[in-house]
Amino acid sequence: MSQNRLDSLDNRSMSELFRMEVETQSAVLTECLLALERDSGATDRLQDMMRAAHSLKGAARIVGRNAAVQVAHSMEDCIVAVQNHKLILTDRHIDAMLAGVDLLGRIAQVPDEDLEGWTAEHQTEMDSFLASLSLDATLAIDPVPTTILPSKFAHPEDAPAGIRSKAPGIALQTSVPAPPASEFSTKSYAAGERVLRVTTDNLNRLLGLAGEARMGSRWLDTFAKEMLQLKRSQQGLARNLDGLKESLAEVAMSKRSAGRLNEFHDHLANFQRSMVDRLEELEQFDRRFASLSTRLYQEVLDCRMRPFADGIQMFPRMARDLAHSLGKTARLEVTGESTTVDRDILERLKAPLDHLLRNAIDHGIESPVQRQEAGKPIEGVLQLAARHSAGMLLIIVTDDGRGIELEAIRQAVVAKKLTTVELAQKMSEAELFEFLFLPGFTLKDSVSEISGRGVGLDVVQTMVKEVGGSVRVFSQNGRGTRFQLELPLTLSVIRTLIVEIGSEPYAFPLARIDTAIKLPKDKIQSLEGRQHFTLADQQIGLVAASQVLELESQTTDDDVSIVVLGDKTARYGLVVERFLGEQELVVRTLDARLGKIQNISAAALMPDGSPLLIIDVDDLIRHIENLVSGQRLTPIGRNGAGETKKTRKRVLVVDDSLTVRELERKLLDSRGYAVDVAVDGMDGWNAVRTSHYDLVVTDVDMPRLDGIELVTLIRKDTRLKSLPVMIVSYKDRQEDRQRGLEAGADYYLTKGSFHDETLVTAVADLIGRTDS
């Protein structure tokens, strides 16, 4: 598991790692600062802040971001002064330090190649920030602290967009003015409605309970029906008694017996009446409860919806800036901000909308001169609209620019040899527009920074397909272009076909399957050891679902149940054990700790409450393609991979700084050691007890359990006491070194040693070079 995570980290640059670390530590710093603001006595927070600032300083030094080193250092000085009671923390210091946190965030965002330019450009701001935190300034008593502009706004460029939207030449007009992002969501919400933040966990639990209640109501329904049966047999009993009475009327009966019989008759009649009453009550309750639980369930599902406005905050500013940089004039008009959109769809819409708007400004909107010549207003208009229509969500992006020239598409299609000249001439408008969504397809002659790489529209297409929607283009030459996205209202509920594989239920989203078909066994043909069948004149290869999913299969003697998947280019028939029927399911996300499970996208509950898994159709098709083309992927982590691991020496790196951890990991990994990482002493202590390592490399200053304590614990443990341990720390004083070695460390290095061979040499000294 950790191996996968490491691999994904591997592709990142050190600067990216630094950015991630800044994110984590900034959160710590901000939280502590806010805690201190509320309660200046919360001095325990100072230690956490110190550690965060210190880690950031070290990490910044590693990636060579001196500005960040300075900021972190000045914050450290300030914290130390507070710890030593040389400084009393006031709101102004907290403001200044929060500004410092923001500044660190911005420094981390600067791309490597722009670093020099950025530093030069922002020198004044840096100076004023450092001055605001320098001890002289902080010690000076500020007579009127409230009149001071918070330092984060001290530099005009940092003011939020709303304050300086008077940029020349551009009128930014949206139906919502552009306030600072943080206020946006609350302001744009339907008038006066209060917004609560609820965690996804809470919501999921609520959904679970509401689902249970609904299941309870279903049980009640069946129970009521059973009671009805009981009533019927009671009626039968009464009829029997009536028959008995009739036949007994023919014989002479004593008065006593007749009385008893009548008594019995009355008794049963009473019973019947009260049974009818109770049943009526039960039915009433059942109806109330069913409607209540269904409504409860629906309400909880609706909680997943958010206003459209929440997902598009960044676009007005983006459109404005982009148009400006291209020397164009454009405004973005948004309608339907209060339209409710599933929060998952809203999140996934961001990238496609970004592409569409960029395309519209870059390709669509003409330059002011061209627009004037065409007799259009100089200012181009982009429209972004959202509305519900016929149970679907419609998102429409329109521009009044030059439109798409059909002839240009024809030429591009022919030039790219996607079709012949004759066929291109015959193609309809809709068919030609289809080509725009192909990966790598572009009409632009030159690739610009904004768009034209030809990656835009296939991103849109992919996202729309993934959620089971569709996208259409309309364009009029010279008049503009309109993209229309039709998406499902929610991702929480999907229609599925439920099948049985390995005696367990699995669901296929209906939108993602081609056909489901039952065939007698003799319709299956075999060719070169591969089975296939014919569907609409097409040969479709068969694969057993249990084989793809690595499950034990149950053979059936009946007809073969086949789910046909894939598109025109490649279709596969997946053999399942049984069709269980069609069902609407509420999608439950899988526990994040499981990571991505191959071929599975989510889970759900059957109407009877038993769990089932929802198939990730795209993943499954890829997997089948691999199986069919013979490149059977050997299960990860077994056999082959395991053997090479055995010969490699295993090192555990324990450090709370992501940057340092990754640096050490890469350094050792490149020398052939197998490296695992742990994020603090406690994590490290757990790791050494549960797996075997040849060496532990640990930092000293860490939360939960520090490096010295970790070494001490290792030395005390009978099974681990001979495990070599190396300390790598920023602390380079003699007494620190002494403390580490006394605790039982075999080596003590300072963190400067990454830059030369010291660390790897020391590792080789302790456990030898690795064999691979």
């Binding site: 950790s2 509401a210 390995g502 367990e504 499970i597 071929n599 409450g609 769990p611 549960t690």
Partner: protein, 195 residues
């Protein structure tokens, strides 16, 4: 007006308090007051004792969210046979179900050989440690037991190596040796074994 109402309440309360004691009430209270009280020592720990196959184990009570009835587990494809057993529905929520016997390297309990069949004593234990939840099946649950850490004995060398790693001490209870699980390490390993 108000005085009359107060008067009524007052006299009703007096009647309630002055009522005759039920038969045997006095004896019962006397027995209870004179009974030997178990003194709870400071530092006493509370654990849930349960059986997994032939082994008796204990895990800190604070880890438990609930003891649930048997429920069907759905296997996860490509993960068959490991620590991860699958998903299980507990009160409408899908929880990750793990196999403690696999982690501890214990002999398969007879129940584990019939994965989707219920036995009368089998229970699903739902744990919640710092928000991360896991469920696992056990053969039987005894209940909550209190003990003092000084009564813990060392782990015998005869115990399987995998199990010994996760057991911090052995408790003698009803002539049985109960392995007390180290919850920090146990959850670390279980969470790590999920993906």
């Amino acid at each position: 007006m108000r005085n009359t109402v107060t008067q009524i309440h007052w006299s009703a309360a007096a009647r309630l308090l002055d009522r005759d004691m039920p038969d045997g009430y006095l004896d019962e209270r006397t027995d209870s007051a004179s009974a030997h009280k178990e003194v709870v020592e400071p530092g006493t720990k509370s654990s849930v004792i349960f059986r997994l196959g032939v082994e008796w184990l204990a895990l800190s009570t604070s880890m438990f969210q609930e003891v649930a009835e048997w429920s069907r587990v759905h296997k996860l494809p490509h993960h068959v046979g490991g620590i991860l057993r699958g998903l299980v529905n507990v009160r409408g929520e899908l929880l990750v179900c793990v196999s403690l016997d696999v982690l501890l390297g214990l002999e398969k309990s007879p129940e584990a050989n019939r994965p989707n069949e219920q036995t009368a004593r089998e229970r699903l234990l739902v744990c919640n440690r710092e928000g991360s939840r896991l469920a696992f099946f056990v053969s039987e649950v005894y209940g909550v037991h209190h003990f003092h850490p000084r009564d813990l004995k060392d782990v015998p060398a005869t115990l399987a190596k995998a199990a010994a790693t996760y057991i911090s001490g052995v408790l003698h209870w009803k002539n049985k040796a109960v392995g007390c699980l180290d919850d920090e390490l146990l959850f670390y390993a279980l969470n790590k074994g999920l993906a």
